[in-house]
Amino acid sequence: PQTGVKLLFGSVKEHHVTLPNQSEPWDMKQLLVWIRGNMLKERPELFVQGDTVRPGILVLINDADWELMGELEYELQDKDNVVFISTLHGG
């Protein structure tokens, strides 16, 4: 879906990323840090706040609410699909 979030990523909607290898599995918390450092083109505070995403951004992991997957503690698997949807732009 066209959302406001893509504006922060150079208006590119889909990104395929390969995360660098590390010994422990990647979790969502680390992913957010990585995104902030490597992908966000501008205004990071509109996407992340503190450890987590800004309130109003819905996060789906493989089409399921990340609240059901453990949120920041969820461990990423190969080929996982993560979607960020801004719910702040209204009807």
């Binding site: 959302t3 509109l46 801004s86 209204g90």
Partner: protein, 506 residues
């Protein structure tokens, strides 16, 4: 008394640690994919049923839409209004149980001129939306915000009901019969009577549907609009002005095209934010109308909000899972700071609170349902002079002792650089204007407008606007520009008429 301790936290349903791998609360079989509200987890199938059912239930519970009625869907391209459009399609489709029966049209207001978009960007957005609209086969209207300057001043008048309002004792069924009868008597849209309404629509091919794209706008129109918005100093007032102008355009389109209902896509989350913002903006008196299911202020056209029970999260998830295409169009407040306007600040506040306390929005929503205006609903016999020019709500300017209005006037008086003469009394009965080089314009005693001479124009439409943000909007506008441009911006037409009538030779 507020005390933060263990007990208090418990009562607020603080969201606990994230849950993992829940089963759907409805079917109890499938794995849940979405949590809404304070902990209801649904699987995909049950969520879809729940989402669709809620729309029908909302319309069924508040029975205000009559079969065969023309209903204008206000679509901004955003997720909620696009979702509303898809629900209307669902509900009207042949295979829907208990099919909805009304005649829909779509309106889109292109406000790129006010939010600083280029013509190319606007054309792109319109083209995207047109392809969405064409796929519905509904009649659609694309209206540019610039057209507000050619609206007649009659749009400011609350119309009488197209149908005589039946006695409130009538059941819904009787009201429907009454409606159909009145329509037949008026001999309006005879080809859209209930019997063949639906089949008529379905027999229209793509080519036959006359879709109205209004005449192209000139750069001068856009510049006039930009000047208007540039002269409004704060983002708060800009957003409010934009909302007002959009409402007027929607209303005008509805009236000229024969729509008696307008559906707006305000979601639960958006209405909660609107409720709190409006209180901050001084619009407490009209809260019930601004956030309720139906908004009868215009008389002949009733605004309804069928999405008011859906949270932004539900809408976003539904659109994603069932491929409902929304179009993102940057607005006035895109990427604005949290504190850029009252509306943005409220949105930030509510959204943050909702993250930790998921019943925030629904609590505000339930409170709004209990709000009713103390005075009787809009009476079509109310004179225009008793309604606000811009928001068409009853004036909240009864000058009682200790009223908010009196406080506004006093603080205004106190904040002027030169004091008023001894003749000043609150209520706008001033005898002269304050600063200014030229001779003083006569005061408009009878209509209560206090005007300054043109060199230092500061139009106080105290008797034409509510003691709220409408006054602010008009004061901020560079009225010299507006009054002298031809034709004057419709919203100030009545005011400028009064100004010229009462100001004498100035």
């Amino acid at each position: 008394m507020c005390q933060v301790d263990e007990e208090y936290n418990g009562q607020l349903e603080h969201r606990g640690a994230p849950r993992v791998s829940k089963k759907c609360v409805k079917c109890k079989e499938n794995t849940a994919v979405l949590i809404i509200r304070a902990g209801d987890a649904f699987c995909r199938g049950c969520f879809k049923d729940y989402f669709i059912h809620k729309f029908r239930a909302m319309l069924g519970k508040n029975r205000v839409i009559f079969p065969g009625e023309k209903v204008l869907l206000a679509v901004s391209g955003g997720p909620a209004s696009i979702s509303m459009l898809s629900q209307v399609q669902e509900g009207l489709s042949r295979d829907a149980p208990k099919k909805l029966r009304f005649v829909p049209g779509i309106i889109y207001i292109d406000d790129g001129g006010a939010s600083g978009q280029s013509m190319e960007e606007r054309k792109r957005a319109v083209a995207q939306l047109e392809s969405v609209f064409r796929a519905t086969n509904y009649h659609y209207h694309i209206v540019h915000l610039e057209q507000v300057s050619s609206l007649p001043s009659s749009v400011l008048e609350a119309g009488s009901s197209a149908t005589e309002k039946p006695e409130t004792g009538l059941s819904y069924k009787a009201a429907v019969d009454h409606f159909i009868q009145t329509r037949k008597n008026q001999n309006q849209h005879s080809d859209l009577s209930v019997e063949n309404g639906q089949s008529h629509l379905s027999s229209l091919s793509m080519q036959e549907v006359q879709n109205e794209v209004t005449s192209p706008i000139t750069p001068e129109h856009t510049q006039a609009l930009q000047r208007l918005f540039a002269s409004v100093r704060t983002l708060t007032a800009k957003e409010d002005l934009l909302h007002t102008l959009r409402q007027h355009l929607i209303l005008h389109t509805a009236r000229t095209q024969g729509y008696t209902k307008v559906m707006m896509g305000d979601s639960c989350s958006r209405l909660a934010i609107k409720l709190l913002s409006n209180i901050s903006l001084g619009r407490g008196a009209s809260l019930a109308m601004d956030t309720g299911f139906s908004d009868p202020r215009y008389g002949d056209v009733v605004i309804v909000r069928p999405m008011r029970d859906y949270s932004s999260k539900e809408i976003a998830y539904y659109n994603r899972m069932f491929d409902i295409p929304s179009v993102f169009i940057p607005g006035l407040d895109t990427k604005a700071q949290d504190k850029a306007s009252i509306q943005r600040l409220t949105e930030s506040f509510v959204t943050k609170l909702q993250t930790d306390f998921p019943s925030t929005v629904s609590t505000i929503y339930r409170t709004s349902e209990k709000l009713h205006t103390a005075c009787p609903p809009q009476n079509t016999n109310t004179q225009l002079s008793a309604k606000c020019l811009l928001c068409v709500c009853a004036l909240d300017t009864k000058l009682e002792e200790f009223s908010a209005y009196q406080a506004t006037l006093i603080s205004e008086q106190l904040s002027q650089r030169r004091g008023q003469g001894p003749g000043f009394t609150p209520g706008g009965q001033s005898q002269g204007c304050e600063t200014g080089e030229g001779g003083c314009c006569s005061s408009a005693k009878s209509v209560g407008i206090h005007v300054s001479c043109p060199q230092c124009i500061r139009l106080q439409c105290l008797h034409y606007c509510t003691a709220g943000l409408c006054t602010l909007s008009v004061q901020n506008i560079n009225t010299v520009l507006i009054l002298r441009c031809n034709p004057p911006l419709f919203g100030l037409y009545k005011v400028s008429k009064a100004f010229h009538r009462d100001a004498g030779p100035c």
